[in-house]
């Protein structure tokens, strides 16, 4: 089977010959083709080719995506910092648009045709369409995006002191994401869509499951349901970081038919499998090991992931636990592919 056939088969709940290798790489892809990290965030064409070529080199699933980096920040007027340092990886928040309670009440859903990186995201999606690839756009995480609008610390304080402010933020983000989805579906039709919900701020390293339940769950569920109402069939959700306590809550959010749910190395794949029996699961080789571990360590982690993930009834992709760091030795990434050759075939 080709990589494209494997992806199509899993999305149609059909059997595949072996586990496929799913890409999560932005600035690593830049390094593979000799682009700067800033290039793959600020230039959609370079972002597209960097990712597609890297995916080709490593025999990965044919899916490229462009999340814009710190999505939500520029769209709502926050200031960002480009990844120009040797040690930076992605765009980061410099100054939040919301600095006070009054700022929250003044927030409006921006124009999805012109705000922030959305025009670049649309150019990227046009390339996806031109090359017959799944089309992506951002569908969350609600709190991650809210954090880029108001600053994570401020938002955390308000969760306890002024929950109505956080609810307002989440409402605005929800309406914003739905507006994006409507624009994308209107432009391309829903058939080839795989939007992405990327949720690092939702991790239990920051918020409690109770806070997830109050501030993320209802809104993220609403976004996903509305996307399905528009005809989108599959959502890629990245459950980033330590989220074991959130899993019963994530499980209440519909992911697709099937969805693709990816996990950080903190969540055991067998646990993930129990919570998402009807979705494809993905993961979850630790990025720090990919970056600084030996190939033997990467191979062994990949083997363990494959051993656990292959048992999942709705299908499994091998992938990193999060974005592959740009200084990862390429051989370590290739070692994951090698592990698939050795352990990833379905008999």
């Amino acid at each position: 089977m080709t990589e494209r056939e494997r992806l199509e088969a899993l999305l149609n709940r059909q059997q595949v010959d072996r586990v496929a290798f799913f890409p999560i790489h932005g600035s690593f892809a830049a390094a593979m083709v000799g682009y700067s990290k800033v290039d793959v965030y600020e230039n959609p064409e370079m972002a597209f080719w960097a990712r597609l070529r890297t995916q080709e080199m490593f025999g990965q699933v044919e899916r490229v995506s462009y999340s814009g980096g710190a999505f939500g920040a520029r769209e709502f007027g926050s200031e960002v910092k480009m990844p120009t340092s040797e040690y930076s990886m992605t765009i980061s928040l410099l100054k939040a648009a919301v600095q006070s309670e009054e700022d929250v009440w003044k927030l409006k859903v921006p124009d999805v045709k012109t705000a922030g990186v959305l025009p670049m995201m649309m150019r990227f999606s046009k390339l996806q369409a031109e090359y017959g690839l799944p089309i992506s756009f951002n569908s969350g995480g609600i709190l991650t995006i809210a954090g880029y609008i108001a600053g994570v610390e401020r938002m955390c304080r308000w969760m306890i002191r002024r929950p109505e402010l956080v609810h307002k933020l989440c409402r605005i983000v929800t309406d914003f994401l739905v507006a994006i989805a409507e624009y994308w579906v209107e432009t391309f039709g829903p058939e080839r869509m795989i939007p992405g919900t990327l949720a690092p701020t939702e991790a239990n390293q920051i918020i409690s499951p109770k806070q997830f339940e109050e501030f993320c769950l209802p809104y993220q569920k609403e976004v996903h349901e509305k996307l399905f109402g528009l005809g989108v069939k599959h959502i890629f959700t990245h459950v980033c970081g330590e989220q074991n306590l959130n899993l019963p809550l994530w499980a209440q959010i519909p992911m697709g038919d099937p969805g693709i749910v990816s996990f950080g190395n903190e969540v055991d794949l067998e646990t993930a499998s129990k919570y998402f029996p009807n979705d494809i699961i993905m993961g979850n080789v630790e990025p720090a090991v990919i970056q600084t571990g030996t190939p033997e360590q990467v191979y062994e982690l990949s083997r363990i992931c494959l051993q656990k993930g292959k048992k999942h009834p709705s299908g499994f992709f091998l992938g990193p636990g999060c974005d592959i760091p740009p200084k990862s030795p390429p051989y370590n990434v290739w070692t994951m592919r090698k592990a698939i050759e050795d352990f990833g075939w379905y008999d």
Binding site: Y87, M89, A288
Partner: protein, 241 residues
């Protein structure tokens, strides 16, 4: 939990001040517990009010800080490590701590204040995620350390420069991003070139104790709740050597 001084010492302190103090031993402990509870309950107003009351009623300011506020923050660290409290709670507890500290600190006599140590802290170059570092800063300040906070996205050479300037006992470097963790061994090398003896802690989500050790760090803590203890352990080990 910090050790309480002997009741006699409190009594002697009161006499030494040469004025008749109002708070009895029982009342003092009530106020101290109130401060402790205010921090744990994220009650800024209560922490501020009780700090004022404590002063009015002659409770030793340093005693109130260490056994009330700081002890409360110690408990908060424990609750965070146990995943009972999360970042929102930690932030609000620290607000309560600082509300009380702001009132009590000016009344701490210099000879009383026992500075536990000095620490330079910052987030490695290329990384702007500072929640973890801020949590650690709070824990050290609560425990009576002087903290020199370099902030986030700190150029590597700044850690060595600041340590030299302040003669800090400990330097703590954090990284949340896997890419910026690579800056840590470079920063440690620069620090060691100028002072081979200073204690260095490294931490952050992508690190483990093994990685921190391989980078040349003397210590590592998985979360803010454990870090002060780790610093004390490292210093004591290094002094013993």
């Amino acid at each position: 939990m910090l050790a309480l001084p002997e009741p006699e010492r409190i009594f002697i302190n009161r006499i030494e001040r040469g004025r008749i103090l109002m708070a009895s031993e029982e009342r003092t402990q009530e106020l101290i517990k109130g401060l402790y509870d205010a921090v744990v309950a994220m009650d800024e107003e209560q922490a501020a009010e009780l700090s004022q009351v404590a002063l009015r009623e002659g409770v030793d300011a340093y005693y109130a800080v260490m056994n009330g506020l700081a002890a409360g923050m110690d408990k908060v660290g424990q609750l965070y490590a146990e995943q009972e409290y999360f970042v929102p709670e930690l932030l609000l507890c620290s607000d309560a701590l600082y509300a009380g500290l702001g009132i009590l600190k000016p009344h701490i006599k210099a000879e009383e204040a026992h500075i536990k140590g000095q620490i330079v802290i910052g987030v490695a170059e290329g990384d702007v995620h500072d929640i973890g570092k801020n949590m650690v800063k709070i824990m050290f300040e609560a425990a009576g350390w002087t903290v020199h906070d370099l902030g986030k996205d700190v150029k590597l050479e700044r850690f060595a420069e600041e340590q030299q300037r302040t003669k800090a006992d400990v330097v703590a470097i954090s990284a949340l991003m896997t890419s910026s963790m690579l800056a840590i061994p470079q920063a440690i090398k620069m620090i060691r070139e100028r002072d081979p003896k200073v204690a260095i802690l490294a931490g952050g989500a992508p690190l483990t104790r093994d990685i921190a050790t391989s980078y040349g760090a003397d210590g590592y803590a998985r979360n803010a709740g454990d870090v002060v203890q780790e610093a004390v352990k490292v210093l004591s080990r290094l002094k013993g050597n």
